[in-house]
Point group: C2
Chain length 439, copies 2
């Protein structure tokens, strides 16, 4: 295989790092490692950055310590912090011994930010400038530091304490007179995020203001890193996936990471674990539906036509609830809806669900007439109206309620709302039936 | 109100355009228009670009023709094409008469690309360079054209026919020797998208390769525009919203645009229209469940305990199906799963759903024993296994089937899968019950 590896290495070198990473990922570990090792460290680091987390860890563990240290030194600060976070304690300690002091400290500082914060996805490879430099000097500094920086297109102007004073773009620098001071040219109102902010909020701020990079500051306004647009895009995609998995009741806290990293490559057992939790949980909800039905067994025996409408009515409530929940959860995620909007939206929901309920009642009354006569038609029409209204309100309000309780509104998934609406649907339907048919 | 407008204008001027737009959007049209008109056209255009489409059209229609023409001339090419696309024929014609020939042609060319294509979201304000320029000359050219370009950080090297030869970044230009030719410095393997590609594919390519801008070419390799990272982020968010709305059965073709633009501000009637379509549609599915039940009315009358398990069993199948569909639809959207993967995933799904079915059967058999004795326990356990397996396979395969039929896999929404699984659940449960209880 050595000859083949030797043949393939130059080809790997000429590819875009993203494509090279894709090719490497398809190879067995014992072929991938020497192929990567044959490249210069900077190129290794670029390719490595595009590999999936699991492949990164496998490769890192298979590498001799010195080889890994050279690779890690060449990686961008955010990517190497992510890698170190995933290594076990032993590999981490071994790697740390082989790294220079400054790099070790940089990694330690970055991995100290908890998962999910802006600090945990930021890079410390930003370009900063003192305000007293001239434009000519600033461009010279940027030219010198460019190879080690994620971006030099936005440079951050800081004082001696690293406090953020302003931002200046390379575009503005090359348009300005060479003698102008950076302090005069910089924009003072810098859009920033705090390192403790949720990472999805920082990503949203970057998107809302169309930035290439968002500076991240600590509690005292000191610049500690930047979130770049490409990382913000990854954060936004992961958060969307996370919400969608919750919405589909495939979610279980930290185990989600395995799914988000690769839906296709996730193991049977991981998926089983994430799905069984919700499936069993929802059974308990449906036991209440069953108990509701059992309470009305005599009514059902006397009016067996009622059973025909049972799936239809409870499904309609569940579907209406899933629709409302979908709208609210997505609105909250994109920032279009805020937690304080619940009253306004409830008013609108009553109007919408009222219209929906009446339309559905008309449809179902016709079927009721045909299958059970006027009394059954009345029962199913009234039940449909009430069920669609109640289901819609459950779907609308549950995300807000979870949010108030400090939980993720996206946990108000379709299946959870559907189950709640099912229980309510059974009770409403058979409750109405028992009143009207007993007349 | 003129005095107030005069007071507020400088404040608006000093804000970030995104914040200024948010403030403007809160004002009534008659106040917003003069506030905006008081600013220089370039600043007007920046703020205007951050307004929601609906607000843009309202403002544009309220503006005198010359004022609108000045604003449109200052807007970036992609944003003004979007605006013109939304104007009615009369306003569009009036605007075109007030614009310079070159601008009119630029807009005409951009709006010719159908909605949803990369061409419809690209900008023609890119920076291009001939290959024979020296680095010094190239920087001079970029400095001169910078004010009218979306970005000068990536410059595209083209021949006399506008055919794309390579790309050179401003970073590389300022790092290079001033005498080097652009043609020597440029990267030749340029990642591109075709103007006819779906816009979400172009956005995904940009994200996969961590680009600041993606060049868009026509059928003969001529550069026609760029997709910038900020626009790609907007595309990705809109596509995620679109998929989530479909997943929640709140979707109806072009009417979705109104919801995507603003979930909160959408009218009662729009939401009613989007929801009633699916709610009524799904009723028909549930009629089949009802008919299934009606076929077994005698069996149910003789074994009324069966009704207790009905909601629980059919809900479990629906939930399992919603889980599978969620995983597949998201995997297809992120590119993690491809259409050809269906066989591989079916094999994995049988293993997962088998495990899930057995676990659920054990749980439900215990309840069955308690409420109905060993025969009922056997019926519900067998039914649970079969229903979870069938529900999961429906959820897994439906998105692939829709994709093969040329439809969006995301249409395999939770509620649709749930309804299909419901019908199957009723038939499986009562079918098994009739065999075993008749023994």
């Amino acid at each position: 295989m050595t000859a083949a590896a030797g043949d393939a290495a130059p080809a790997l070198e000429r590819q875009h790092p993203a494509d090279a990473a894709e090719r490497l990922a398809e190879l067995p570990l014992e072929e991938a490692r020497p192929l990567l090792a044959a490249l210069p460290p900077r190129q290794q680091a670029q390719i490595f950055g595009y590999l999936e987390p699991g492949d990164q860890v496998a490769l890192a563990e298979a590498m001799p310590r010195a080889e890994l240290a050279a690779l890690v030194s060449a990686m961008s600060s955010d990517e190497r912090a992510d890698l170190v976070r995933r290594l076990d304690a032993e590999d981490r300690a071994a790697l740390f011994r082989a790294l220079a002091h400054a790099e070790r400290e940089d990694i330690r500082r970055l991995i100290a930010y908890p998962e999910g914060t802006a600090g945990s996805v930021m890079s410390s490879d930003y370009a900063s400038l003192p305000p007293e430099l001239s434009v000519r000097e600033a461009i010279e500094v940027l030219r010198r530091i460019a190879p080690d920086r994620e971006t030099i297109y936005d440079a951050y102007v800081t004082d001696a304490d690293r406090r953020l004073l302003g931002v200046v773009s390379l575009r503005d620098l090359i348009l300005a007179q060479p003698g102008t001071r950076v302090g005069e040219l910089m924009v003072r109102d810098v859009i920033t995020a705090s390192a403790d902010d949720p990472r999805e909020e920082a990503a949203r701020t970057l998107a809302d203001y169309d930035l290439l990079a968002l500076p991240i500051v600590d509690g005292s306004g000191r610049l500690v890193g930047i979130l770049t647009a490409d990382d913000a895009m990854d954060v936004a995609e992961e958060e969307a996936t996370r919400d969608i998995l919750k919405g589909g009741a495939v979610s279980g806290g930290s185990a989600d990471e395995g799914l988000i990293a690769g839906l296709k490559s996730a193991s049977v057992f991981l998926i089983y674990r994430l799905r069984i939790f919700w499936l069993v949980g929802l059974v308990f909800g449906n036991i209440f539906s069953g108990l509701g039905i059992a309470r009305y067994e005599e009514l059902i025996e006397a009016n067996i036509a009622l059973v025909f409408f049972l799936p239809l009515l409870i499904a309609s409530g569940g579907n209406a609830g899933a629709q409302s929940a979908t709208l609210v959860v997505r609105g909250l995620a994109t920032g279009d809806v805020e937690m304080g909007d619940w009253m306004l939206l409830t008013a609108r929901e009553v109007a919408i669900a009222g219209l929906l309920g009446v339309s559905m009642a008309v449809a179902v009354a016709a079927i009721g007439l045909a299958r059970g006569g006027p009394e059954i038609a009345l029962v199913v029409a009234l039940a449909m109206m009430a069920i669609v209204l109640v289901g819609s309100l459950i779907g609308l309000l549950l995300p807000f309620l979870l949010g108030r309780l400090g939980m993720d509104p996206a946990t108000a998934s379709g299946p959870l709302v559907t189950s709640l609406a099912d229980v309510m649907g059974v009770l409403i339907y058979l409750g109405i039936a028992s009143r009207i048919l007993a007349l």
